[in-house]
Symmetry: C2
Subunit: 392 residues, 2 copies
């Protein structure tokens, strides 16, 4: 049996009418309250923001991507540099994924929508082979052939040294049939056992590993996969894989998974994180979210605004050209408070990096404000009211 003496998850408050809950998640690098949002520092950096700017935006936890880091600069180098925390100068809690999602999403992220069911299937040109042992793909850095196995994914994540790890799984796309999805899920379960065995060999209390619920859009498969994760010595549970092509399908997938997972472990929802998603999936029992959109939207000129229908404004809209008002004076961070929309409009139009930096810090701070308010609203049993405040 694997124990996690330096980790803990306590549920402190449960909503009376949904699975929403407030908890505390303890890691060797600190305690965070849940529900919370894990910001993506894909290549060991948050796009356009320094660690100090992330802390200023009241960020609790970040993640980095195993897939990108194993290719550049490599897990051995990061281990030699003292691990990801020291490398990035981030001393708070951190998560790494297993690399699986990116390997199975074409190596460049272009199949991400396909896995999420938002587009038709197409060839995955960088993925060369999937077998029981693992998979082989081509590096986007130098086109070399790379093998990734469950044991390899755990070894790399051990060298990276994040607090929270993910098992290696096959991320099944939307267009495959149920039979393929079932066989894929079963392999992910065998891979999960191999991950735990490899994890246990080196376990020193510094890391905790999550099992991942697969099973596509099929309720019966999701239940089997969820029960599998509950049965094994994972620290937490993640919900991954194909979530369907619509909001309704996605909700059904989560609703059919959560009742069968371990009730006392933290639940992470992989790669989802618009404001509407936070409200929907907190109610279904999700404790942590991650998504690239707060910083990716920033690079496209979009700012999350509390109460704005549609969640974001696009600062490059001509109506902001002479707008004296700040992005959002309610958000206590320089980016949201100290610059006019007209200035940020100018920066984005002129291609100035500072524009992206301002929008990125604003979006991160806004999502962190959202998560603080969500936690308080669950405690106060007023999540519906809060959702109206945020979603207009």
């Amino acid at each position: 049996m694997i124990e996690y003496p330096n980790f803990n998850f306590e549920i402190e408050h449960k909503a009376p009418d949904s699975r929403a809950r407030v908890g505390t998640l303890t890691t060797p690098h600190g305690v965070i309250e849940t529900p919370n949002y894990i910001f993506c520092g894909t290549k060991a950096a948050i796009k356009a923001l320094s660690p100090a700017q992330m802390i200023e935006a009241q960020t609790d936890i970040i993640l980095a991507n195993t897939y990108h880091l194993m290719l550049q600069p490599g897990a051995d180098l990061i281990e030699k540099m003292g691990g990801l925390h020291k490398f990035m100068n981030w001393n708070g809690p951190m998560l790494t994924d297993s690399g699986g999602f990116q390997v199975f999403s074409l190596g460049e992220g272009t199949m991400a929508n396909e896995i999420k069911g938002k587009s038709k299937g197409h060839d995955n040109k960088s993925l060369m082979e999937i077998t029981e042992e693992g998979c082989v793909f081509r590096s986007y850095i130098d086109n070399s052939k790379i093998k990734l196995t469950p044991e390899g994914a755990m070894e790399i994540q051990r060298k990276l040294g994040a607090d929270l790890l993910m098992q290696f799984d096959e991320c099944t796309p939307y267009h495959v049939d149920k039979d393929y999805t079932a066989r894929s899920m079963e392999m992910s379960m065998r891979w999960g056992d191999r991950c735990l065995a490899e994890f246990e060999r080196h376990h020193n209390g510094a890391q905790g590993v999550y099992g991942i619920v697969q099973g596509g859009v099929h309720e019966d498969l999701r239940q089997i996969s969820a029960a599998y994760t509950a049965d094994r010595d994972f620290f937490g549970t993640a919900i991954g894989g194909c979530l369907g092509g619509s909001d309704e399908e996605m909700e059904a997938v989560v609703a059919s998974s959560v009742p069968h997972i371990h009730a006392h472990r933290p639940v992470h929802f992989l790669g989802i994180g618009r404001i509407k998603d936070i409200f929907r999936f907190v109610r279904l029992g999700i404790d942590t979210f991650d998504c690239v959109i707060p910083t990716r939207l920033a690079r496209h000129g979009a700012a999350f605004i509390k109460g704005h229908p549609g969640e974001t404004i696009n600062i490059t809209n001509a109506k902001y050209r002479e707008d004296h008002s700040p992005l959002d004076a309610r958000v206590d961070v320089p980016a949201s408070r100290d610059f006019s929309k007209a200035y940020i409009y100018h920066l984005i139009k002129a291609g100035e990096i500072l524009g992206m930096q301002i929008l990125a810090q604003h979006n991160v701070a806004t999502i962190n404000m959202l998560m603080r308010e969500v936690r308080q609203a669950i405690r106060d049993d007023r999540l519906d009211d809060l959702e109206k405040e945020w979603r207009g």
Copy 2:
């Protein structure tokens, strides 16, 4: 007679064996000590750095470029937004140039080396016409025809609202003959008078204007132009135009200009600012410098390092791949102190904006440290020793 009641320049200490001096330059937005360095916020933003990050790097004064801002977002818009200080959220002293240098350097900066004598002449494709009235050029934003006159340059700078302004001048290139340079210089003197007349019409004490010494590499012309600036009611003197093709020619130009300029006015050297230049030209009586290189070099992976022969290291050199040491622990700013060279190497190789941000803050902080040490060394009469410490 134009008076500058809200401005002052006091020389507090003079070196016994050179023209080096320590002074205080008072503007409506604060007092700075000189010699000092004015960092380029070309399009109303320092590349990759926020105002807070500039202040953290102990920056005293910045500039913005009239040429870029008149085209995008336009001086009227910035005036409507309350002026550049408010627009950029920079509350310290600020300078704008007249737009002349960029108009005469092809609209894209590609003739800058030509003006500085570093390349052979070529066609200036965006400059359409130079007459006594002013010049006409094509906008790099929308290809429209734009007229810029001495009066127009002052009006735009008045709307931008910086503390320190520059007269409009023709920036003569290197390859023209002495006769052309002389006629150009004489026109710049007439343009200077028109600038002062226009400036005086609206003068309310908020701005101070610099005359610019032209005359190419010709000692007699430089003397005439210097004497002209001293004779008129400029607040300060700038040294501009073609400075020759070598360090020796550049030094000769400054050495032949400074003895003839007004002895009690601050002296700005336009567009020059490597470490070796600071030491050479402080000795010749320069009080302020400006140059894009601290932030431009950062975008190319280069970091100024005190004592490093050649002034900069390039962080993308393979020898830094596993280097645990910070850029420079002597520089008291997060960018210089809190990240390993190996991490910054990775960020630049991976194309992460954070890498540029770190190098930019480090370079700005290092140049500010240099200027503080230069001022102290002049006071202590040990500039030669300090130069050895910096230049190795």
